[in-house]
């Protein structure tokens, strides 16, 4: 029955062995298809089972399609289910054959058993074959009106499936409004929840083309509807509760009493057995109280216990997800959790990804009162069998030391680590002692005494070796043997594989030389010679630089290499607070687990609700939908461009901000070209040409060392939403939260000054550039404005404070932005708009 070509479609490697069996099955199915003998269902069932198990292991059984459909005319529900499963799997690749199944599925949709009606409807909608959508509308319509709630539940999801196959068919049949009616009136909460999830998706997708859909979507987060859901929340299934709670986070209550009402209503959700419900509730609480500082703190106290219980009672997978969220909260408000530090103690059996998070939290919650216990606990982990965790815990001790004022006890412990004679413990501890000394130079005496006893031969890890060498250089006046240790290290120059260590060695020998010249001189000579001959560009360059600066003037060299140092007060944080805030806004999402904001890891098309853009594109149904998508795409590409240029600038900036000594790699090439000459010049320093060469070299070096000015691409297109809306409360809240992205002073043209007699004049003008005013005031000559703008089709806001003085014709502008990286682009838009003010 099936065309023979079908059987050759298979890509499966196991196909050859399955081929004869498949044709065997085909024969047997054909025999059974017409039979009405008693017990035929049982043998059919065995055969179907076989077919599906082949399907599961990846053998292509699509050639049996016809026979399977013929056999499915039965009253046996299990047979039907298996057949639906089969059909659902292969209909998409065999659209012609799918037509065959429509008939029997449609018939089943009118079966007297609601279970069969529901299953048939579900399978019908799961066929997902574009040219069959016409057959879906009828059964779906009657399914939505079915007297049985099971069928209605299935039908509602079916509408969403239909929408993804063909949006226009779904809208033309007026299904969205039917769903809306069901959502507001159906007694079964599962149906309400399914309607909600379907309508959210449909209206969000339609919102860009239809104003009505946009209005409807807004209505979902209106007060009456939210209250309608909240009042019934206990009747919803746990998963539907998650959905409702997610919707509630988008709702902005009008006043604080409403906020308290909602929180009171939802408080018992924190006790729910399902962790997903608890986290969704926590998110609602946190979002609602963002603008109320005091209550926000109380919320932290309230949610603490349920979250901690989730951590300790769930499976490792669940506790990992909860811990990631807890981690976020702990980082925001460590003091709230500081008395619960014992919850973050690691258990032996926990997977290391859980332990790692816990160690970070222990570091964060450490304060004056619990440091001692925490450090004691961490020290026990240092002897842990799990070496990566042992290392992490030593690092954690160091971090705590760096953030505390009273480091007495901690230093002792770190020094004990050094005596533990475990290579990785020593290594980690050395790095920490170095950091500690940079922050608390007053401890140098104690530390140096211990560090001096460590044989450099026992330290192999580059980072630790570098730290040791740094200390040898920095404290060479206090360490008796420093010059000699350095000398022996220089002697083994060739065996040192890490460039980082060699760089540190050069610097350390230099420092030592300034403190104890007679003892170090020979080591310095050897180090410089070895360094200049080094194949690594940075090492070579640094050695050369030292050599030349020494030749130029020794005291200048000392000022450069060994300046008086100030203790480091705060070490830079690895994660910016902006990113942390952003992740916090995305609480209860994957972003939290990755510790990255979603824009950093999800593809743009996946940020919103599921977009079946590519599929729709292939099927090219509904001209309108297609166009919308393509236009969206273009815009997103623009945005992408924008992001990438901004990111490039950022990375370049940071590479230039590195160590003072480090010479940017960019400059290496030309120096390299003249390297041989320079080397020969150095080997006989009396050559006349040398100084010329050298100075040229240095100039060259410095010249190229200047940060390369990145080519500024043509200003990226930023499109603003002409109908942006933001309520004053939200504005205030945002203004408080966001950091200032840009601050600048702009000049106004004389015409502008002349036109600005009342604030309103500027308001109208800016509005025509899609920049809206939320508040304004002042009298000539001083005006103050608060503007906002919204990115086109994206809820990304720009907030502007603009203070204009007409006598000086200057405008002080402060810009804050949700998406910091486009703030520059927005700023130029704003400037452009302002400069046009007053011109006719």
């Amino acid at each position: 029955m099936a065309p023979p070509a079908q059987s050759q479609r298979s890509q499966s490697p196991s196909q050859p062995s399955g081929k004869s069996e498949v044709s065997d099955l085909k024969l047997q199915l054909r025999q059974l298809a017409g039979s009405r003998a008693p017990g035929v269902d049982d043998s059919k069932r065995e055969l179907f089972k076989k077919v599906i198990s082949y399907m599961t292991i990846g053998i292509d059984v699509s050639s049996l399609f016809g026979e399977m459909v013929m056999c499915s005319a039965t009253s046996d529900i299990v047979l039907k289910k298996m057949c639906y499963l089969y059909v659902g799997n292969y209909a998409k690749v065999n659209p012609d054959l799918a037509l065959l199944t429509i008939n029997f599925l449609q018939r089943d949709c009118h079966d007297e058993d609601p279970m069969i009606r529901g299953l048939a409807l579900r399978s019908l909608c799961s066929l997902r074959v574009a040219n069959l959508v016409e057959y879906l509308v009828g059964p779906l319509g009657s399914g939505l009106k079915d007297s049985n709630s099971y069928v209605r539940t299935v039908a509602v999801v079916g509408v969403l499936k239909l929408y993804h196959i063909s949006a226009s068919t779904c809208v033309d049949a007026d299904f969205p409004s039917t769903l809306k009616h069901l959502m507001l009136n159906d007694p079964d909460t599962q149906i309400v929840a399914n309607c909600l999830s379907a309508l959210e998706e449909i209206w969000s997708a339609e919102a860009s083309t239809s104003e009505e859909a946009a209005r409807e979507r807004e209505a979902l987060i209106s007060k009456p509807f939210i209250y309608y859901l909240l009042n019934r929340i206990k009747e919803f299934s746990e998963w539907a509760q998650c959905l409702v709670l997610e919707l509630v986070t988008k709702y902005v209550p009008s006043d604080s009493s409403e906020i308290f009402d909602i929180m009171n209503l939802l408080e018992d959700r924190l006790q729910h057995a399902n962790g997903a419900v608890v986290l969704a509730t926590v998110k609602v609480f946190l979002q609602l109280t963002l603008s109320m500082t005091d209550v926000h703190q109380q919320v932290y106290e309230r949610i603490k216990a349920p979250l901690l219980t989730l951590v300790s009672s769930g499976s490792p997978e669940q506790s990992y997800a909860v811990l990631s969220h807890l981690h976020l909260l702990v980082m925001r408000a460590p003091y709230v959790f500081s008395s619960d530090y014992k919850h973050f103690y690691c258990q032996y059996n926990e997977p290391s990804y859980v332990k790692r998070l816990k160690l970070e939290m222990l570091t964060a919650v450490a304060n004056e009162s619990n440091t001692y216990e925490i450090v004691t606990e961490l020290c026990e982990y240092a002897a842990n069998v799990d070496i990566p965790i042992a290392r992490e815990s030593i690092r954690a001790v160091g971090k705590i030391a760096l953030q505390q004022y009273d480091v007495n006890a901690i230093v002792d412990r770190l020094l004990q680590f050094l005596e533990m004679e475990k290579d990785y413990v020593t290594a980690e501890a050395l790095v920490l002692v170095k950091d500690l000394l940079r922050k608390y130079p007053q401890w140098s005496h104690d530390c140096i005494a211990v560090v001096g006893n460590i044989s450099s031969k026992n330290v192999q890890e580059p980072k630790a070796k570098a730290a040791l060498i740094w200390m040898l250089g920095e404290y060479s006046q206090d360490m008796q043997d420093a010059p000699y240790i350095l000398e022996s290290l220089v002697e083994n120059w060739d065996e040192e594989h890490s460039a980082e260590v060699r760089l540190h060695l050069l610097t350390a020998v230099m420092k030592c030389f300034f403190k104890r010249p007679p003892e170090t001189q020979s080591a310095l000579g050897a180090a410089l010679a070895a360094g200049i001959g080094d194949f690594h560009q940075d090492v070579h360059d640094r050695a050369l630089f030292y050599y030349r600066i020494l030749r130029y003037n020794v005291s200048v060299a000392e000022r450069v290499v060994n300046p008086p140092k100030q203790a480091v007060s705060v070490f830079a944080d690895t994660q910016s607070s902006e990113i942390k805030d952003r992740i916090f806004d995305e609480f209860n999402s994957l972003s939290v687990l990755y510790q990255k904001s979603s824009y950093m890891f999800t593809d743009k098309e996946h940020r919103g609700p599921l977009e079946f853009a590519d599929e729709l594109g292939n099927l090219s149904i509904g001209e309108a939908a297609h166009n919308v998508i393509s236009s969206q795409r273009v815009e997103e590409n623009d945005k992408d461009l924008l992001l990438t240029t901004a990111e490039k600038e950022e990375t370049r900036g940071s590479s230039n901000n590195g160590s003072v000594y480090a010479v940017p790699y960019d400059s290496s090439t030309s120096v390299f070209a003249s390297q041989t000459q320079i080397e020969s010049a150095i080997s006989n320093p009396t050559t006349a040409g040398h100084s010329q060469h050298a100075s040229f070299g240095i100039d060259d070096l410095l010249g190229l060392g200047m940060p390369a000015v990145p080519d500024v691409a043509s200003p990226p297109q930023l499109k603003l939403n002409t109908k942006a809306a933001l309520d004053p409360n939200a504005f205030q809240q945002k203004w408080r939260q966001l950091p200032v992205a840009l601050s600048q002073e702009l000049s106004l043209s004389p015409q502008a000054v002349a036109s600005l007699t009342v604030p309103q004049a500027l308001l109208r003008h800016m509005q025509s550039h899609s920049i809206h005013c939320i508040a304004s005031g002042g009298q000539s000559p001083n005006f103050k404005f608060f503007f906002f703008a919204q990115k086109y089709e994206e809820p990304s806001n720009y907030l502007v404070e603009c203070i204009i003085n007409t006598t000086s014709a200057k405008a002080q502008v402060k810009i804050k932005a949700d998406d910091q990286r486009t703030s520059q682009a927005f700023s130029s838009l704003f400037e452009l708009a302002l400069s046009k003010f007053g011109t006719p």
Binding site: Y150, K161, W239, D268, A273, A276, Y320, K342, H606
Partner: protein, 415 residues
Amino acid sequence: MLQCIFLLSDSGEVMLEKQLTGHRVDRSICDWFWDHVISQGDSFKSQPVIASPTHYLFQVVREGITFLACTQVEMPPLMGIEFLCRVSDVLSDYLGGLNEDVIKDNFVIVYELLDEMIDNGFPLTTEPNILREMIAPPNIVSKVLSVVTGNSSNVSDTLPGATGSCIPWRAADPKYANNEVYVDLVEEMDAVINRDGALVKCEVYGEVRVNSHLSGLPDLTLSFANPSILDDVRFHPCVRFRPWESHQILSFVPPDGEFKLMSYRVKKLKSTPIYVKPQLSSDAGKCRVNVLVGIRNDHGKTIDSITLQFQLPPCILSADLTSNTGTVNILGNKTCSWSIGRIPKDKTPSLSGTLVLESELERLHVFPTFRVGFKIMGVALSGLQIDKLDLKTAPSRLYKGFRALTRAGEFEVRS
């Protein structure tokens, strides 16, 4: 929303594939996943949520079976993980355990279950009671029944009526000749004892498990003698929140059969029922081990199945350990396991012997953590006591049963 669910065997073979949305997920994702797992060494160590180049993957491993779900959109992570955990619970409940064979034998049931548990990527019903009404489990009883009644379908004839009722967890009107309700307190003690023998952390995680076979719509109230000791509680959806908030009374209409009514935590306990005193002293490339185990507080109940396990550090070449009670085994992965059973009246169990270190090592620097197991019947170590259980409109014949049990959870002693 979830787009696809795969079940993988412990060799990485795809046993089952369930596409949930029109956005088909190619099976090749499993190959990527399996390579990733292998590169991580141990699947236990790889994170539950990982990002593949094309999808975000949730994985939950139970009994060697990997439940893998894929999505491309941002979603609440716990929803994915929690759902997979439920799937594994429901399957193991239905199939009487989880392993490769049982899933392969019953894959039709697994498909049927998944079909009802999730539609279009959104979880629907995970309540075992309701699922049981829609799809009969393949147990012996139903097989026997089907032979007797001649009804060979394993789908029950009744409809999923509960989905429409206002008590979604309870099937409509079961009838029992003997009305019975059993309440079990099951507690697990988590404790950490540090190197100095001090109790760093000791808390109890407990569950109240109820097995109810009651006719009609029973309305139960359960109260505790000392509810104030409970630190944080989580309830089954059937528990009404207000009575608990005002009077610490559990008022509920129970699901039929077995379920977890509530879970709780009791923090800051002062003592453990048994003590473990490890002593390790190393000298000249050898380490002498001596571990004593004994009863600290007599609760009047016997402590059963006491076990002690620890991982020998990798730097140990050989171990010679003997005990005066019970048996000592050193397993292939250098895990030493000492099963004591009950503590005899006349002597204190002790484990002693020597560990031989790697040749260049003088002393032992990595210290093992001893994990302790025990079981005490008839007592809840948190001290929680059930005051009474009442049934509104009690049937004529009602049997109420109470039990308590405490086990060691994560009970570890560091040396």
